[in-house]
Each structure stands twice: as structure tokens, then as C-alpha cells.
């Protein structure tokens, strides 16, 4: 199995991109060139300075250091919410597609309804219930994107369910749980994997969009989404302030996309003919 991973060029490439990001996320606090929270009122919004290769933000804080320290909360938000959306969506979609009947109608209607709810309203409601904060942001983004996963899982389940290997498993007397987990799930993963990479990007952007509700990482602690959001006002003064975090996000997303593609290939035994 391991050899399959190593032989897959796309996989290797995406790991080469992602690994450093993860390492930096882990050791970030020890390698930041500056205190990312320290204000330098004399040096605000400089594009690049000696000692500040990526420049400074509106508080004169070092953008590089903030990018580095921002990885961890950004990943937590992105992965947390994507995981939440993925699991709920998957569960709903599988149930609806597999059991059909009332469950299907009820679930898919609910999914449609949640889909046409603007995220900002959902966000405000969650804030109203539980207040702001990272965990609530994760819940919100999870709710916003779960319907997407549900839809995909639903339609793929419908397709896969018709296949004879599912029926053959059923005809052996397998329980529904076994069929769902053993037969259907592994075979509907690949469209979901694409959606995962899209959701990761979207959740970080949504974080920046919702930060005005006080959601997400509370300033002054940095996160990519928050930096992207904050930079909005300063595009004319220091365009790189907006570009750096977006670029970091872009590269990460590219790597995640590729990782998704390669995982799909690797997990598909058909593509590893002997």
C-alpha cells in the first residue's frame, strides 16, 4: 500500500507542499521571526521591510509571523467545519439514498431548505444562541456545507445502490450497516473528496466573511481568513497584505485538490493493475 502512495507523483507533490505547512503549523510559535501580536505603530502597512519580508499589516505586525501562526487556527476551522459538514452530510445523504421512502423525502427537503438559507442568517442565529467563537464558527460552516455533501452523497448512493455488488451483499443477508459502510461508502467517496477540497477553501473564505459577526478566531490572534478579511480595507495601501494570505490559501487548496485526486486514484484498486 505504502508503495502505491510513493509511486503516485501527484500524491508526492501534494505532500511536498502540505508537509511543510503542517510542520510549520506545529512548530510555528518557535520559528516566528517576530511576535505576531506586537504592534509597531511606526511601521504600518509597509510592503516589505528588512526583517519583514512580507511586510506589515495595519498595526505594523509582521505579516509573515502572522501567516505562520495563522495556519493552526485556520486549519482547525477549515478541517473542523469540513469534517462536520462531511460527516453530517454523508450520514444524511446515505440514509436518504439508501433507505428511500419517508427518510429520503424528509431529509432532502430539509437539505433543500438549509441550502436556501443565507449563511449570514444562520451565523447570526448561532451567535444568538451560543455566542461567537471558533467552535461556533465551525458549527455554522458545518451546517452551511453539510447540504452540499448530503446532496452528493445522496445521488451517488442512489447510483451505487443499484449496482449488483450491493445487491449481492444484501442477498447474503448483510445488515444495512454493513452494506452502507462496506459497500456503498467506499464507492461514493471520490465525488465527496472533490467537495472536501472545495469546502476547505470555502470555509476559510467564509470565516473571513463572517468575522464581522465576531465569529471565528478572536483578534488579535491571527488566522488566514481573518487576515484576508482585514486586508480588504488596505488593498490600495498595501496590496500584498491581501495577496499573501490568499496566496497561501490558494497553494494549500491546490495541494489539497491534488491530494484528493491522488487519494482517489490510490484508493481505487482498479488503477493499480497488477
Amino acid at each position: 500500500m505504502l508503495r502505491k502512495f510513493v509511486r503516485n507523483k501527484t500524491f508526492v507533490f501534494s505532500v511536498i507542499v502540505l508537509l511543510p505547512i503542517l510542520i510549520v503549523a506545529a512548530i510555528g510559535p518557535w520559528i516566528v521571526p517576530h511576535d505576531p501580536l506586537e504592534l509597531h505603530p511606526e511601521n504600518v502597512l509597509k510592503p516589505a521591510l528588512p526583517g519583514h519580508p512580507l511586510g506589515t499589516d495595519e498595526f505594523g505586525r509582521d505579516i509573515l509571523s502572522r501567516l505562520i501562526l495563522g495556519i493552526r487556527p485556520s486549519l482547525i476551522v477549515a478541517l473542523g467545519s469540513t469534517l462536520l459538514a462531511f460527516t453530517t452530510g454523508l450520514l444524511l445523504g446515505l440514509t436518504a439514498g439508501y433507505f428511500r421512502g419517508i427518510a429520503e423525502k424528509a431529509i432532502m427537503r430539509v437539505v433543500d431548505i438549509v441550502l436556501c438559507f443565507p449563511p449570514i442568517l444562520l451565523a447570526l442565529m448561532v451567535v444568538g444562541f451560543w455566542g461567537a467563537g471558533v467552535s461556533n464558527l465551525i458549527v455554522i460552516i458545518g451546517i452551511v456545507y453539510a447540504p452540499h455533501f448530503a446532496r452528493i452523497a445522496y445521488s451517488s448512493t442512489l447510483q451505487v445502490k443499484k449496482l449488483e455488488y450491493v445487491e449481492s451483499e444484501l442477498s447474503l443477508g448483510a445488515s444495512h450497516g454493513r452494506v452502507l459502510l462496506g459497500c456503498i461508502l467506499p464507492n461514493i467517496l471520490s465525488p465527496l473528496i472533490i467537495q472536501i477540497s472545495l469546502t476547505i477553501a470555502a470555509s476559510i473564505l467564509l470565516e473571513s466573511g463572517l468575522s464581522f459577526l465576531g465569529l471565528g478566531v478572536v483578534p488579535p490572534a491571527p488566522s488566514w481568513g481573518q487576515m484576508i478579511g482585514q486586508s480588504r480595507g488596505y488593498i490600495s495601501l498595501n496590496p500584498m497584505y491581501a495577496v499573501w494570505p490568499s496566496l497561501c490559501l490558494g497553494v494549500t487548496i491546490l495541494a489539497v485538490n491534488l491530494l484528493g485526486d491522488s487519494l482517489r486514484d490510490i484508493l481505487d484498486p482498479k488503477l493499480n493493475r497488477s
Binding site: R7, N272, R273, S274
Partner: protein, 332 residues
């Protein structure tokens, strides 16, 4: 038969596939000829390279496959040397192909009629309405009851037999010289199969078209073929006219195949079958490819591979037993 009658001549064709574990030949040194007006059936174990041979002839191999060596002569030209453009002028015009699963082989979002019209207008500069009329005639010709209604139908609205007939109509639209049919009736039931085989024979006798027919069903072979080529593990094992193949098969593999046919009146009895399995594409045995499954295998078979040699007029076999030297070795 005379060499000048040859329409398609495949010479020493080797087609290989790139896989993760390396490049392997799916067919190796395949050699056969189809004469004008002849129906040649290709039979053989599944995975023996029948489809690959036909796709090579059409130059329609999947991206992983490529012709490593050999020549494909068709009407005096070597198809392996032609450009894409030249090929697309030949394909559909002089040689056409029908595939196994007719439902999957038609574009689902265009009407059947427009797909036939497209085929006609690709190769002949006729007006749309003239092409349409031709298409209706063709459909009538292949035995479709309401041709003008079917012209407007989408493939999913038709049964498998009808789709297959539309495929045939399409393949025949420019009166090709050669029709390659890869298991054209496997998905159909016997009554429809009978209709289609009847149709092919009729067209052959009307137009003198040659047909290369790939099938598993030896009944179909017996009924259709003028000549038969038997493939095993990427090689032609035996080639000859249909009677000698059925009556007097030389190669042990062909013999095994013929003996495997269920005979009426021996219900429940043991059917003959060839022991063992086809070797995988990456693990060909040395010597004769069939020797691990051959009851008569000798050391010679294990050592080296026999050539395809003429056994009698128009028949060839790839077997040491058919080799002139066999008797001597037997004796010695």
C-alpha cells in the same frame, strides 16, 4: 485463395499496453488475412486479444495501448503509417466497426437518425435531406419496421436489438469494404441474434462486403464464417476454413474448444473443458503458450514456440504436432 484478393492483411502485429508494472504485449505477432467478400470469425478465450486485434486494425486503441511492430495493410496502404486525418477518412468509409454493447455505443443525446446522417455526410458530400433519405432507406434495409419514426427516436427509447441494427445501418451507411463486428450479438437473445446474423449475411451477399466477426458462440461461427481464426493468449493458434476447423481441428486448443460445446441429449453430464487458466498478460510461459494446459505437451513445446505453419490448403496451425518435424521427434 489468391493474395490479390486480400482486403485486410495483418502482418506480424504486436500491440502492447503500458501498465504500472511495465509494458506488456497483449497480442504478439498476430498474422491473418481477410479476403474480399469473406466472413472471417475470430474465436478464442476471453482475454486472448480479439478485441485488441480489431481495435488495432481500426487504429482505435485506448491511450495506454500502442502498436509496437507489424503492419496492417488495407487496400494497399499500411494503416499504421497514416495520419489521423487520413485514418478518419478511411474509418467509417472503407472500414467500419460495430461494438458489443449497442446501447452504450450510441451517443445518448442525439437522435438515431442524426447519428446516421452524420456518418453519411462525413464521407459523402450529399445534402442533408438526401442523407436523411438514405438513412431511412438503410434503416428499412436492416429491417426496422417504422424507419421514419425510429429516425427521431433517441437510443434509450429503443431496444438492444434495434440499437444494434442502427449501429449496423450506421456502419453500412457508406458501403464499407470491411465490417468489423466485436461480439455484436452477445447482449441479444437468440431470436434477435438470428435476425441480425441473417441481415449481415444478406448484406454480404448483396454488396460483397468482408466481415471480421468476433464471437464466443461457436454456433454463430459455424453459421457465419467462411474462415476462422482461433486466438489464444495474444497469438493466432489456428486459422482455416470453417469446415476444417470444426471437422478437423489441428491445434489442441481448438480441439478443446470444439469439444466443450454442450451437446443435446447429454444433460447434466460432464462437459469437456480445457483444464487450467489463460496465462496473464505479464506471465507468459516460455515455449508454446498453450503448453501448460495441453495434454500432449512435450519438451519441445516447453522449450520453444512453434510457428504458424500451413497444414493443408488454406489452413495453418501453431503447434509442434502439426509441424513436419513432429513425426520425426515423436519417432526420435
Amino acid at each position: 485463395m489468391n493474395m490479390s484478393d486480400a482486403l485486410l492483411e495483418i502482418r506480424n502485429l504486436t500491440t502492447q499496453f503500458r501498465t504500472d508494472k511495465g509494458t506488456f504485449p497483449a497480442i504478439a505477432g498476430v498474422h491473418f488475412t481477410i479476403n474480399k467478400g469473406e466472413i472471417v470469425c475470430i474465436v478464442g478465450e476471453s482475454g486472448s486479444g480479439k478485441t485488441v486485434a480489431s481495435l488495432s486494425a481500426m487504429q482505435l486503441l485506448p491511450p495506454a495501448g500502442q502498436i509496437a511492430s507489424g503492419e496492417i495493410w488495407f487496400e494497399g496502404r499500411d494503416l499504421t503509417k497514416l495520419s489521423k486525418k487520413q485514418l478518419s477518412q478511411i474509418r467509417g468509409k472503407s472500414m467500419s466497426m460495430i461494438f458489443q454493447d449497442p446501447m452504450m455505443a450510441l451517443d445518448p443525446v442525439f437522435t438515431c437518425g442524426s447519428q446516421i446522417v452524420e456518418a453519411i455526410r462525413l464521407h459523402e458530400s450529399v445534402s442533408r435531406s438526401a442523407a436523411y433519405k438514405r438513412a431511412v432507406e438503410l434503416l428499412d434495409h436492416v429491417g426496422i419496421a417504422h424507419p421514419s419514426r425510429v429516425m427521431e427516436a433517441y437510443p434509450h427509447e429503443l431496444s438492444g436489438g434495434m440499437c444494434q441494427r442502427i449501429m449496423i445501418a450506421m456502419a453500412l451507411s457508406c458501403s464499407p469494404k470491411l465490417l468489423i463486428a466485436d461480439e455484436p450479438t452477445t447482449a441479444l437473445d437468440v431470436t434477435v441474434q438470428a435476425q441480425i446474423l441473417e441481415l449481415l449475411k444478406r448484406i454480404r451477399s448483396e454488396t460483397g462486403m468482408s466481415i471480421m466477426l468476433i464471437t464466443h458462440d461457436l454456433g454463430v461461427v459455424a453459421e457465419m464464417a467462411d474462415r476462422v481464426a482461433v486466438m489464444y493468449a495474444g497469438k493466432v493458434m489456428e486459422e482455416g476454413d470453417v469446415r476444417s476447423i470444426f471437422r478437423n481441428p489441428r491445434h489442441p486448443y481448438t480441439q478443446g474448444l470444439i469439444r466443450s460445446i454442450p451437446q443435446p441429449g447429454q444433460r447434466g453430464g460432464k462437459l469437456h473443458s480445457i483444464a487450467g487458466n489463460v496465462p496473464g498478460i505479464g506471465s507468459m510461459p516460455t515455449g508454446c503458450r498453450f503448453h501448460p494446459r495441453c495434454a500432449d505437451a512435450t519438451d519441445a513445446c516447453r522449450r520453444s514456440e512453434p510457428d504458424l505453419i500451413e497444414t493443408e490448403e488454406g489452413c495453418k496451425a501453431r503447434c509442434w504436432k502439426a509441424h513436419p518435424s513432429w513425426e520425426e521427434e515423436e519417432a526420435g
